[in-house]
């Protein structure tokens, strides 16, 4: 077998379908890496060895009969999924104590789609508890370390999935986005991270944090692989009323293009708080793309400075309701079960949830309470609509928007954990698109002088993932 770690998902799938690579061998290698290198960075909560090897054997069997192509575009590709995506027979913990012992009796639609595409689910990855966080330090199972430097955070909340791809344990992983939870760690670890259009990938089986912005989101090391990953997972699902019917093109076939994009530079995204090195790197990307014939134009997204406030009001409100079901009655942790109901509730939830989750439940409960609803939730909903209109207006002028993904490169473990407001600013360039539902991608481009990865973000109109894959491919090719 060629060097596993240097294979792309595309190469693996082609090799497996041609009978040149064994899905079982690939899965074994991935599992071995997950147990060794993955353990060193604490990327996984659960390794799904038994089912993975069975799935891989089934894919090999199909390949032998020659029936797998082309319906299995991810034939034999080891894939990791974030531990808030339901997968039968294995615990889904959301990195929370409160889900102790919970094993979902059903598969997320996304998981079904991936298995249909031939992917091998090798493990469930570590994350910030209930996807709340930007550093992956809010995990009951301990923080994930950045593969580039173990002293640093990988970003979050999809830190485990991102680190698993950056560490080359798997070529593709799925995380989830609510306000930047895939794009931001992708930037901090130096991989590609796509936040699909809201409704692109079914949320059925994704444990909800904030239903109106949650999206399952792929990570990969090449533009082509991330396109393949999205293609396999996406599509309208009868089980998710908010999933959208859309005639997806075959992205990988349309990746190479001569198209010259008109790209907007939102001035608000290059203002105070942006690290100099990150800023310079994004400017270099702009220069490089200009050289290739793409044009740039300064635009304005005036609501940008409201986005973080709106984001934390809306998502916390939804979270306070979504997390109400974790009450000790039906599954997961139960404390003080011999006491009265209210004591059981409060003891269970006090012991089961971490500090950040509690903070957001309290914030969300507050903004929905009688007397505060109008001032907070209702007003935030109105501003959210203005944010959406900002993007709609911008995309009348340009094809894409470019910006930094994160205001800084990876920071030290523990550096921001006691300062939630500073931590929340990690999502400043990603939260707006999440609120508006637009797709965005973080492309690894350049490094700081300390050798830390930097991410360049592109945003697109609804369901224009194709342009995101194309521009990613262009930037990736011109950088190398």
């Amino acid at each position: 077998m060629p060097d596993y770690k240097e294979l792309t998902a595309k190469q693996m799938a082609d090799g497996v379908k041609a009978g040149k690579l064994s899905a079982v061998e690939l899965a074994k290698e991935a599992i071995n890496l997950a147990k060794t290198e993955g353990k060193a960075i604490n990327a996984f909560i659960t390794i799904c060895e038994e089912k993975a090897l069975k799935q891989a054997a089934a894919v090999d069997a199909l390949a032998k009969k020659g029936t797998s192509s082309p319906s299995q575009p991810l034939a034999g590709v080891p894939v990791a999924i974030k531990d808030n995506i339901s997968y039968t027979d294995y615990a889904t913990t959301c990195a929370s104590h409160i889900l102790d012992g919970y094993i979902p009796p059903y598969d997320a639609t996304c998981v079904k789609n991936l298995i249909d595409a031939g992917a091998i689910i090798i493990g469930k990855t570590n994350m910030d508890e209930f996807a709340m966080g930007s550093s992956n330090e809010n995990s009951f199972y301990g923080p994930v370390k950045n593969p580039v430097n173990h002293e640093l955070v990988p970003g979050g909340s999809s830190g485990g999935s991102t680190a698993a791809v950056a560490q080359k344990i798997v070529p593709i992983a799925f995380g989830s986005e609510t306000g930047g939870s895939v794009r931001q760690p992708a930037a901090l670890c130096g991989v590609f991270g796509l936040k699909p259009t809201y409704g692109g990938i079914s949320r059925y089986g994704l444990v909800a944090f904030a239903s109106s912005t949650d999206q399952i989101a792929p990570l990969a090391r090449t533009a082509e692989d991330i396109a393949l990953a999205y293609q396999a997972a996406a599509g309208r699902d009868e089980n998710d009323s908010t999933s959208v019917t859309f005639d997806h093109p075959v992205y990988s076939e349309k990746l190479a293009t001569d198209k010259k994009f008109k790209i907007g530079i939102p001035k608000e995204y290059f203002a105070e708080g942006l690290d100099d090195e990150v800023k310079q790197t994004v400017e270099e990307a702009i220069k490089l793309l200009e050289k290739n014939g793409h044009t740039f134009k300064e635009i304005s997204l005036p609501m940008t400075d409201r986005a973080i406030a709106v984001y934390y009001i809306i998502t916390s409100a939804e979270a306070s309701s979504n997390l109400a079901r974790f009450d000790g009655v039906k599954y997961g942790l139960r404390e003080a079960g011999d006491k009265d109901l209210t004591t059981m509730y409060s003891t269970t939830r006090d012991s089961g949830f971490g500090a950040e989750v509690k903070r957001r439940i309290m914030l969300g409960t507050y903004v929905l309470s009688a007397g505060y609803y109008e001032a907070y939730y209702r007003k935030a909903s109105k501003v959210r609509e203005l944010i959406r209109l900002d993007f709609e207006k911008a995309f009348n002028e340009v094809d894409l928007i470019i910006s930094p993904t994160s205001p800084t490169a990876a920071f030290k473990l523990g550096e921001k954990i006691d300062d939630p407001l500073t931590m929340y600013l990690s999502d400043i360039y990603t939260a707006s698109a999440s609120l508006a539902g637009n797709p965005g991608i973080s492309v690894p481009f350049g490094k700081t002088k300390d050798g830390l990865p930097i991410g360049v973000q592109f945003l697109a109109p609804w369901f224009n993932e194709l342009s995101l894959f194309q521009i990613s491919n262009i930037l990736q090719k011109s950088a190398s």
């Binding site: 909800a208 089980n239 009323s241 908010t242 939804e318 306070s320 309701s321 109400a324 079901r325 009688a370």
Partner: protein
Amino acid sequence: MSEYDGYEPVIGLEIHAQLQTESKIFCGCKNAYGEPPNTLTCPVCLGLPGALPVLNKQAVEKAIKMILAVGGKVCNRSVFARKNYFYPDLPKGYQISQFDKPIGEGGEIFFSLEDGTKKSCRLTRIHIEEDAGKSLHPEKGESYTRVDLNRCGTPLIEIVSEPEMRSPEEAYGYFVKVKQILQYTKVCSGDMEKGHLRCDANISVRPVGQEEFGTRTEVKNMNSFKGVERAIKFEIQRQVKLLKSGGSVTQATLLWDESRQVAEAMRSKEESHDYRYFPEPDLVNLVVNDVWIENVRENMPELPDEKSERFIKDYQIRPYDAMVLTDTTSLADYYDEVMQYTKDGRTAANWVQSELLGVLKDSGDDISTFKVRPNMIADIVNKIESKEISGKMAKTVFAEMVESGKSADVIIKEKGLVQISDEKQLLAIIDSIISANTGNVDKYKSGKTNIFGFFVGQVMKETKGQANPEVVNRLLKQKLDG
């Protein structure tokens, strides 16, 4: 008004009706009653992490039907909202309901009191929501409450009235009429015992003549129609007594205890909810276009009032009889079918109401499958009309029908139940009776006319009850008076 010591009650009802759909409102689980606990469940209605609701079209259709049946407005766009509260039988920690944008607005219920007085009450709204599960509280010797989630996600509509009712009797009349419409439209079974239909009452009192409403309380937990009336009456009297003694009513939720006939306040902790409603992000707005609404309207069955008017007009029956006969669709359908075989609407109405319903009440049989079919009742009616049998004979025939299920003709033949109307034959009998009872004839002629019945009795005895009483009366009178 003196009934409540110078106070006037103000009553509004909130009626929850379970919709008769094949499956639950947000998942494919069967919508059924009486199955073993927790067997009609799936990740969606169990509220498992990651599961999502998908709206059942049939539930929406039933809601539209009810809104149209009460003359309300079906909103083209309505919004689902989450009502948040913690309870073990509410597995998601919130109920999916509708809040500020319900599917139905307005409408009016027209109903009658038991004395026939006509009343009406307007509706505020009708909205769609899901039912919660059931908590089975500990029996003696048990220390845990058990939870049955079969009912979770059963589709409901909540029908909210304006506070326009002024007596427990009105509330009863209104509630019964709502039930009747629900049953006619097959929106809900109307079965209170199974909890398919539930009713909460908002009650306040105010001095007669005062515009402003008094402080209201909410009474829950009634499990029969008369129970609703009784609970409201109890609560009105409680409030009046309180005010009369110089006290004041505090806003509270009370639970009706049917066995003790009292309503008592819940612990304040249980009722102080801030439901933190907000739009349900897992569902898109409910859009109902006019084509859909018209389609439902076109397929609307005949409603109770329409049926009642038709009966009065086509079958020439009294309004009271029409009201009784249209009480349920099965009874109305039965009577309608009887009328396919006879022209005598009134006699048929009497027979269905007194004889048939009497028997059904005793036997507990279901009218739609009862062995005495509508054409058999019509036979009896027709034979009375044509004087083939007397009213008394008809009762014998009916009793035998109930017993054996045989047709009227067979029974008449077997029992020899033929009415003698032939005047010659009867005159011969009358003559022989008169000549055999000259003493009584003299008494009659001297003015003791009440002895007339004696002669009728003799004729009947002689003819084994088969003589046509009308003819006998006429002939006897001619003979004795002539």
